[in-house]
């Protein structure tokens, strides 16, 4: 269970497979049904971004742990990686993004709001990597 499992996204089946993997893993970790749905939605948005603008790419999932004052905490980490066009202005995407506006990276602010941690790295012409984590409360 410590190893990463990855799903390739090159068509809509890939999106569904990534969602399924996320739902199963988050359930195993012990997330409630609402959080399962949130994690799945986050995965879905990331996978859809790859499918629409940067296919093929992959979604990798991993169980992560950290020690806090109240003991060991478990969580799920999502890494979405592609070799697509990249996002020329990440600040723009993260600041204004409206849920319903289209284009590469449109869903990212939503993903950030659904998860606890979120980082993004992107280079024009080389691709984008998004890492997002949600911790069990």
């Amino acid at each position: 269970m410590e190893t990463q499992s990855c799903v390739e996204v090159k068509n809509e089946w890939g999106i569904v497979a990534a969602r399924q993997a996320g739902r199963t893993l988050s359930k195993e970790i012990g997330f409630g049904s609402v959080d399962q749905a949130r994690i799945t939605t986050a995965i879905s948005e990331l996978a859809r971004n790859i499918y629409l603008y940067a296919k093929p790419g992959e979604i990798c999932l991993e169980v992560v742990e950290k020690t806090t004052k109240t003991g060991l905490k478990k969580g799920i980490q999502i890494v979405a990686r592609d070799r697509g066009p990249g996002i020329p202005d990440i600040r723009q995407v993260m600041i204004d993004g409206f849920t319903t506006s289209g284009g590469m990276g449109a869903g990212l602010p939503g993903v950030k709001r659904l998860m606890d941690e979120f980082t993004i790295d992107s280079k024009t012409g080389e691709g984008t990597t998004v890492t997002a984590t949600k911790w069990l409360r």
């Binding site: 949130r38 849920t99 602010p109 939503g110």
Partner: protein
């Protein structure tokens, strides 16, 4: 958080049980009040749907599985609204931030306007200027020189809000640096026109009217740059006349010349300057007529200059359902001795 959700679930279970028992409006009212509590606790809609399902399962253990399963789908769709709801919260924060920024800027803008109406023996002066939003694109100014002569300016920046405000600060600093032309309306506009032409974006124009009043001769001289005509009231004939001044708006062409007009002001006569926000008050789908503005002025002209403009404003803003579509500025100068 977990605790809150459990408490809310208990509360909702109670509301639902009571409601299903006797299906009263009272129960629905409680549900509405409950929704306010949810929003206060920032419970997202998908969370609430999940609460509803949990309560339903508890109350009706025999509900068919498929009905319970259908909530999976309901919850999934609700995630979309949940995203919109979260966006709403962050929009609201950003909006509050922006609005408070703009409040500060609007205060700063107020300091660009004259702090008080100048005190001139022979003139009763009144002015009201209300922005459509928080920041104004209308500007007015009074300048009093050493001989007791008065310069009066009104300007309207085409465009509203923040850009108009930036533009207005330029007009103010530019006017401050032109002390020599204060009594020569034509020359003053020519100078301002050059400043605007050089500093302001091509898409931005300014209309303006400038007049100077000499209380020794009671002569009023004025020039205009594409600005909404004012009114001149002749007390002897009890008649209103349009106060027009031909001239191109500021910022179009570097070489614009502005004609200077003049008029002799008798006792009881008054001059009205206004911005098009006054005459373009919209009532339903129609603009108000200039003749209706005159009627309103007549209605209140027995009052002091300041009361006059305030009353006219009150009537016009009410006619429009308290929403101004453009910045509103109305000025009056009446010779009372």
């Amino acid at each position: 958080m977990k605790q809150t959700v459990q408490n809310l679930e208990q509360a909702y279970k109670h509301i639902l049980e009571t409601f299903l028992h006797r299906k009263t409006e009272q129960g629905l009212y409680q549900a509405q009040q409950f929704s306010k509590v949810l929003l206060e606790h920032q419970i997202s809609p998908e969370e609430f749907v999940s609460i509803h399902r949990a309560v339903l399962e508890e109350l009706f253990p025999t509900v068919p599985d498929k009905v319970i399963d259908s909530f999976d789908l309901l919850l999934e769709v609700m995630m979309g609204y949940g995203l919109a709801y979260r966006e709403h919260q962050s929009l609201r924060n950003r909006q509050r931030e922006l609005e408070s920024e703009i409040d500060v800027a609007a205060n700063m803008q107020q300091t660009l306007l004259p702090a008080a109406i100048p005190d001139i023996d022979s003139l009763d002066i009144g002015v009201i200027s209300v922005p459509a939003n928080k920041m104004s694109g209308d500007y007015y100014n009074y300048i009093l020189d050493d001989h007791g002569c008065l310069g009066v300016a009104i300007a309207d920046i085409i465009g509203k809000g923040v850009p108009a405000a930036l533009c207005m600060s330029m007009i103010k600093y530019a006017m401050d640096s032109l002390p020599e032309q204060r009594l020569q309306p034509g020359a003053l506009l020519e100078n301002l026109n050059r400043v605007v032409e050089q500093n302001v974006d091509d898409s931005m124009f300014i209309t303006m009217m400038y007049g100077s009043y000499d209380p020794r001769t009671h002569e009023f001289r004025y020039s205009g740059a594409g600005h909404e005509p004012g009114f001149f009231y002749h007390a002897d004939r009890d008649e209103f006349e349009e106060l027009r001044a031909k001239g191109l708006v500021l910022g179009v062409s570097r070489k614009t010349k502005f004609t200077e007009y003049h008029v002799q002001v008798q006792k009881g006569d008054f001059i009205i300057f206004l911005s098009d926000g006054v005459t373009e008050c919209r009532v339903g789908d129609n603009f108000i007529e200039r003749s209706e503005i005159i009627s309103l002025i007549r209605k209140y002209m027995h009052l002091s200059a300041q009361q006059l403009v305030e009353n006219v404003y009150q009537e016009l803003v009410k006619l429009q359902g308290f929403i101004l579509r453009d910045d509103f500025t109305l000025m009056i100068m009446r010779r009372d001795v």
